[in-house]
């Protein structure tokens, strides 16, 4: 089962981490990322500390590091630019393996890479241990505006419906000899996207009518769920607390 909350970033489980309420985990992840970002880039050891900290959470949640590493690749396109920094940065320069690298550029690249990766890993840890539905519920409890939540809920539901629609339209085009590899046929794809937009818009109207018919007045009804216990906050906040200790030590030693 679990079809109700299957998304590719979620790893089914029943560990301590999985059982923590979503809002607690969201706050813990957010604070941890803040600590990471606030750490001076020269405090190299502190970043190792963060990684160990996350590894401890993965161990507690029984997430295989390889599973995590594959999903962390999502970061790759965003850090490509960082690789260029050592070459394009300002003087002074130093020689390494026959390359002339900028000192400031290399530090800058390290900064982006380390903080970016840790941020992605923290978010992935949150996603891996929290079903999408609970994330929304957690955001609701954290008083995120209702409109934002409604939009997120609808996106969650309709992303697949619209993807299915796009797939059927593409099949219908291909069945009539369309081969989007050729540039001169790109027009059909573009028009396809246009009509997909119209269709999604129309669907939006129909969904809205159906919601009105069931008494929707603009706010999602809150369904009662068990309240969060203080001890759960303490458990989850241990993570940003240790992270804060690392960040503060990092600031004082550099």
């Amino acid at each position: 089962m679990g079809a109700g909350h299957s998304h590719p970033l979620y790893l089914e489980g029943s560990s301590v981490v999985h059982r923590l309420p979503a809002e607690v985990k969201i706050v813990a992840a957010f604070l941890t990322v803040l600590c990471v970002v606030a750490t001076p880039r020269e405090a190299f050891w502190a970043f190792g500390g963060y990684l160990l900290l996350l590894a401890a959470v993965w161990a507690a949640a029984r997430i295989p590091p390889g599973w995590m590493a594959r999903r962390a690749l999502i970061e790759a396109p965003f850090v490509v630019l960082a690789v260029l920094l050592p070459f394009t940065g300002p003087d002074p320069r130093f020689e390494w393996a026959g390359l002339s690298l900028s000192h400031a550029g290399t530090l800058g690249a390290w900064n982006i890479l380390a903080k970016g990766t840790l941020g992605v890993l923290t978010s992935l840890t949150l996603a891996a241990t929290t079903p999408m539905r609970d994330l929304l519920l957690g955001l609701q409890r954290l008083r995120v505006p209702a409109l934002v939540l409604t939009i997120a809920t609808l996106m969650l539901r309709y992303a697949d419906v619209i993807a299915g629609e796009a797939r059927r339209m593409r099949l219908a085009r291909i069945a009539r000899g369309h081969d989007p590899r050729f540039l001169w046929q790109a027009g059909a794809t573009a028009r396809g996207i246009g009509s997909l937009f119209i269709r999604s818009y129309e669907r939006g109207e129909r969904v809205h009518l159906a919601m009105l018919s069931r008494g929707w007045t603009g706010t999602m009804p809150t369904t009662g769920a068990p309240a969060t216990v203080r001890s759960q906050w303490l458990v989850a906040l241990a993570l940003p607390l240790v992270a804060a200790a690392l960040a503060v030590t990092g600031m004082m030693t550099t």
Binding site: M1, A3, G4, H5, S6, M132, R133, L136, T153, L154, L156, R157, Y158, D160, V161, R203, R206, V207, L209, A210, M211, L212, S213, R214, G215, W216, T217, P221, T222, T223, G224
Partner: protein, 258 residues
């Protein structure tokens, strides 16, 4: 036709009060296209009525009038004694349960359970009462064991039944179904019919599927060009070849009614 002379009905679940009473309803779209002309339709509690008619006859327009999504340009709709007007639109929408044609339009929540709870929660039902409503509605359509799944992972027939449950949980005075049998395979079609027959509720079913109308609804109403052109026992109407042909309706190949 005007039927405004009738006295205002008391707003209670009186057995003498019709579930649905449409009186002299006119409607024109903002661009001036007239969609409904003096529609009169009275449905008694417990009746099951099919609303038949060709494409563009005004069937869906009529349905959207019933819960005040579209406002009439003339005439009136009264649901269980309560006129469809702005001050009590919310109660009207609870009383008129519309099941839309495409379940993907109706089911928008991440899980079946939440979707079935959406309506009653909007109407102020909370806590244990809400849970009980959701359970009962899913039980009634035979989908209780799928409560925690995403509508995305259900078959067409299952989705249709869940869409029905999302409206049943609001405890409506009258169920309005828009093309309930479209896109269903024969088994899903039969299963839905069994569920509907077991509900014991006032029903208005918009459909092109004439055998389905005959199976489910003892009475039928034919709409064409925004007017009601026939109203009577389904069997008699479907046996009237001339009337069917005049309004672009026909029984599927191989069907005849004596």
């Amino acid at each position: 036709m005007s039927a405004h002379t009738e006295p205002a009905s008391p707003p209670a679940a009186d057995p003498a009060v019709a579930s649905l009473d449409v009186r002299g309803l006119d409607f024109a779209y903002p661009d001036g296209t007239t969609a409904l002309h003096g529609v009169d339709l009275r449905i008694e509690p417990g009746e099951r009525v099919a609303l038949l008619g060709p494409n563009g006859a005004g069937k869906t327009t009529l349905v959207l009038q019933l819960n005040g999504i579209l406002a009439p340009t003339g005439g009136e709709v009264v649901v269980g004694g309560l006129p469809v007007r702005k001050p009590h639109l919310q109660e009207v929408r609870r009383r008129v349960g519309i099941v839309f044609q495409d379940p993907d339009d109706q089911l928008f929540m991440p899980t079946v359970r939440e979707d079935v709870a959406f309506g009653p929660a909007n109407f102020g039902v909370r806590g244990d009462e809400l849970t009980a409503r959701v359970e009962a509605a899913l039980e009634a359509v035979g989908m209780a064991e799928h409560a925690d799944r995403s509508p995305l992972h259900l078959s067409g027939g299952q989705r249709r039944r869940v869409a029905l449950a999302t409206v049943l949980s609001c405890d409506p005075e009258i169920l309005v179904l828009d093309e309930p049998s479209s896109n269903l395979d024969p088994v899903a079609r039969r299963e839905l019919a069994e569920v509907l027959l077991g509900l014991d509720r006032t029903l208005l079913m918009v459909t092109h599927d004439l055998p389905y109308a005959l199976q489910l609804c003892p009475r039928s109403v034919v709409v064409d060009g925004g007017r009601i052109v026939a109203d009577g026992p389904t069997r008699a109407l479907l046996a009237d070849d001339g009337m069917l042909r005049a309004h672009r309706l026909e029984l599927p190949f191989g069907f005849t009614l004596a």
